[in-house]
């Protein structure tokens, strides 16, 4: 008989389930709950989409040519380097 976990237990430990850090018994408990709780399915899907969008958000910026470095910053770095020992 699979134990019924609460929505709170599922959401609090969702990361462990998604990372595969749960035991076989716990995995079955998560999946038993998800099969019967559309609210938690909605939460899990939006959580996964958040992670995916977070990763994509910064990939967009790096695809084209990198932004130029401001000349005043270049000058400051070169000046600072001259004062280093060696």
């Amino acid at each position: 008989m699979t134990r019924w976990i609460t929505c709170r237990e599922l959401i609090d430990f969702l990361w462990r389930y998604l990372e595969g850090e749960v035991s076989e018994e716990e995995r079955l408990e998560f999946e038993y709950h998800l099969a019967r709780c559309p609210t938690c399915v909605a939460y899990m899907n939006s959580y996964k989409e958040t992670v995916s969008l977070g990763r994509a958000a910064f990939e967009d910026l790096e695809a084209p040519a990198p932004p130029e470095v401001p000349e005043d910053l270049v000058a400051a770095i070169l000046t600072a380097r001259r004062s280093l020992p060696g």
Partner: protein
């Protein structure tokens, strides 16, 4: 600890004086281990990932020779990308510029130990992330910021007090780009300690052990903080994405 002379610029004196030669040694030791996708800048290894390409080796040789022109070339080639990364860690432009300056100066001091096993861009990126973290650490210790209002609330039976509803699918590439822009802005609203973990794990793609080492906290603390950061970001996105009837 090495005392570094003061220099003009973006707060160079304050932070760089705290950069030790131990950091240089640490970075050199990490060089062959720069394995995350973000840090190698490609999920598919290319032949050039095996070592520095010929033109990069030549640049490294010139840098080791102390050529200022080569150093300027390095700063112009990589500074923009490093500044974009530093801006993710800091809301303040001056802080981001400070971190970039510290990164180039640390790289200059660590060049002798650079073995060419990673690309220069990868190596510099890692140094920059370290400098950002050192700068964050050097600030006055503040109590852990609250995520109140951004974490799920449950009733006495363990159900969500405000049940989640499915998000509308993103219809096309334009919608996805707009969502990405929104996420970039919302990440900036997260409290610093949560934003930093999110950046290291989900954006920089360090593994839990690497993030824990850099932050000086336990791996379990990294996992819990990351989960809360993702939950908070999800909560910030929710009003913009909710739409389908339950």
């Amino acid at each position: 600890m090495v005392a570094v002379p003061a220099a003009s610029g973006y707060g160079f004196q304050g932070l760089h004086a705290t950069v030790s030669w131990a950091l240089c040694a640490f970075l050199s030791a990490l060089e062959p281990m720069l394995g995350s996708r973000r840090l190698t800048e490609s999920s598919t290894p290319s032949p050039s990932d095996a070592g520095a390409p010929p033109d990069e080796s030549a640049l490294v040789a010139r840098l080791r020779g102390g050529e200022e022109e080569a150093f300027a070339l390095l700063v112009r080639a990589h500074g923009g990308r490093l500044l974009a990364t530093a801006r993710r860690f800091f809301g303040c432009e001056d802080d981001a510029r400070d971190a970039v300056q510290d990164a180039f100066l640390s790289a200059h001091q660590a060049l002798a130990a650079f073995q060419g096993q990673a690309r220069l861009s990868t190596w510099l990126h890692r140094i920059l992330v370290n400098c950002c973290l050192m700068k964050l650490r050097s600030r006055r210790r503040r109590p852990e910021e609250s995520l109140e209002g951004l974490l799920p609330v449950f009733d006495e039976t363990g159900h969500e007090a405000r049940p989640s509803r499915p998000w509308e699918p993103l219809e096309d590439e334009m919608a996805r780009r707009q969502a990405c822009a929104l996420v970039r802005s919302l990440i900036g609203q997260l409290p610093e300690s949560y934003r930093t973990v999110l950046l290291l794990r989900d954006i920089e793609e360090l593994d839990t052990a690497q993030a824990a080492e850099l932050l000086g906290i336990s791996e379990n603390a990294v996992k819990i903080r990351l989960h809360r950061a993702r939950q908070a970001l999800r909560a910030l996105l929710d009003p913009h994405r909710k739409g389908l009837p339950s």
